[in-house]
């Protein structure tokens, strides 16, 4: 039997758990996409409609790159908002270009159904490991959670390291070990080892730390290339960064979080506004109350729910007197302009502190 070669689009570092999951439950090869580069975006922009949101262009670019590398079966995750409909158009675009590939979409209309996932996985591999897959799904979830925990710590302290680049190196070698773990206990051992190693990295924390929160649209916030490494730039200003949106939050905590909090914040938001808009408003109010020095809101251009939330976040920040900076990333935003705006933002925060 011919094995299919599976490829999928990337978000940040989450290709590690995704590769782990697929390689363990499917009897097929995984074609890992190259890291997102300028070439990816150019490919994506060339074949996308003009005013679609930017994640469409990025994911289409990666899918085309994966297909060029030899994949004959591509997987889109899908989700709520417009993201759940990407696959339909991307499938048409890819088949119009003359590629003969299977196109799999796991989630539609923002609601994951077990039957759909099962049906779609059977299209890749008829004999995929049904019962093992539950076990590996559990491990993958844990892996994502551990990755996010480590990431949160790094984001908070990476701006104050004594020797630059230590934490990042440790993170990279942790990801390498994660991709080869044999079971849950092995995973836990690796996590514990690196957790203690990263906490031992020397940091020099000044007395009056500048705390900045990042909120925004999920793809742009999680894929560092698409936001031009905004977190790295912020860390170079010696800032402590807090970000709530990550994969484990989106998979596990989101529904509960909104249900629990939406009544408390009824001054600003009464209903769910679609995608991440509601939680971003709630987070913004929380951050203002917790005494953050500034909030940065990032989104890809034409992201409809975030555009709606921008006005409300602006109002929140006016009420609490906290500076807020809005970024809208397109495929051709210049990095220099971003740097200048961040510098100005940093200067303003420092002046306010005095």
């Amino acid at each position: 039997m011919k094995l299919s070669k599976v490829g999928f689009p990337h978000i940040g570092n989450y290709y590690v758990p995704a590769t782990y999951l697929f390689s363990n439950i499917l009897h097929s090869d995984i074609v890992s996409a190259p890291h997102i580069s300028q070439k990816t975006i150019e490919l994506g922009v060339k074949y996308s409609p003009s005013f679609v949101c930017t994640p469409f262009k990025y994911t289409l670019g990666t899918l085309l790159e994966v297909i060029e590398k030899g994949a004959d079966c591509v997987v889109q995750l899908g989700g709520g908002c417009r993201y759940g409909y990407y696959h339909e158009l991307q499938r048409t675009i890819i088949s119009d270009l003359g590629y003969d590939v299977k196109f799999i979409n796991l989630v539609i209309a923002g609601k994951a159904s077990v039957f759909r996932v099962y049906r779609e996985l059977r299209r890749i591999d008829k004999h995929f490991r049904r019962f093992k897959s539950l076990y590996y799904l559990f491990i993958t979830m844990k892996m994502v959670k551990y990755m996010d925990l480590i990431d949160d710590y790094i984001r908070e302290y990476v701006g104050f390291e004594v020797n630059d680049g230590e934490m990042e190196k440790l993170n990279e070698s942790m990801l390498k070990e994660f991709s080869g773990v044999k079971g849950y206990f092995d995973l836990k051992r690796v996590y514990k080892k690196y957790n203690s190693l990263i906490r031992k990295v020397k940091v020099d924390i000044p007395r009056n730390v500048t705390k900045v929160g990042i909120i925004g649209e999920l793809y742009t916030i999680m894929e560092p290339f698409s936001n031009y490494f905004i977190e790295k730039s912020l860390a170079s200003f010696n800032m402590s960064i807090k970000r709530y949106t990550n994969a484990s939050y989106l998979m596990m905590g989101k529904g509960k979080f909104i249900k629990k909090n939406i009544k408390k914040y009824s001054k600003y938001v009464k209903y769910r506004m679609g995608a991440d808009a509601t939680d971003n408003i709630i987070r913004a109010v929380d951050m203002c109350r917790d005494g953050f020095d500034g909030i940065i809101h990032i989104k890809s251009s034409f992201c409809t729910p975030e555009i709606g939330s921008m006005g409300i976040i602006n109002k929140v920040c006016c009420d609490y007197n906290v500076p807020v900076l809005f970024f809208s990333f397109d495929s051709n935003t210049s990095r220099v302009g971003l740097q200048t705006r961040l510098e100005a933002f940093n200067d303003m925060i420092e002046m306010r502190k005095k």
Partner: protein, 293 residues
Amino acid sequence: MKIGIPRGLFYYYFSDLWISFFEKLNISYIISPETNKEIKELGNKYSTDEMCLSLKNYIGHVAYLSRYCDVILVPRIDDFGKYEQTCTNFMACYDIVNNLFDVKVLDYNISLSSHDTLYKGMKRIGKFFGKSNKDIRRAFLCATIKSNKLNKVRIIDNINRLNLTGKKILLVSHSYNTYDSTIGKPVIDYLEKLGCIVIYSDLFDKAACRRKSLELSPDIYWKYSKESIGSIALCGDKIDGIIFLSVFPCGLDSLVNELVIRKINKKCLNLVIDDMDAFAGIETRLESFVEIV
């Protein structure tokens, strides 16, 4: 107490129902005028600059109304079932308006997946004005029957136009764009001036459209997009050309229209209208398109 109804987005789906409901219950209401320059400017002033043109106009209507009435009716529509969702602007509209203006906003929520129906919403509005349960129920029934009747007449009129002879052009667009005086009206007027018969995509049997739409796109899950593209499959060979009308950064149309244009093999034109007032360019495109057809 006067209730204000902005002429935008939801108005084009619920206007008949609202008007007869308020008339039956003796609630005085005011509807904002057709979109004009003043309203457009108000919309530009209050909205975020990346919002879609229809929402900008809607905010302009609300800003205009807030001077003349005590409460403004802004519903919120989430979904009509699991695979019949709406644009996120419909979900966020109430919160956007509520945070922008100081005027009291009267709202109701339609979300069939969490059992919030239109009747519950209208009941809330009736209760706000101090009407009794019985009156509300009767008024709601009358209003639904009346609006359904009016809609049926329009649908029959639209289908009859399909059998006329001449250049028949299907205008695929959302209702709030088709009938807006700055977006769809000039296009329709110009097409009729050129001697075409304009057929509206939103005046067909809704359920049939939704069923038919699955032929073009099996996984689509937006109610209003389903209805507009279903009309293409429903018309079949009876039409000569298709015009896709959308406003600048419309989230749904950017994907759905692109997909449909790739799938059908009929002459079609993709018109995207932005808030520049240059209609001359559109006129030339319409003219050349009609000539090709």
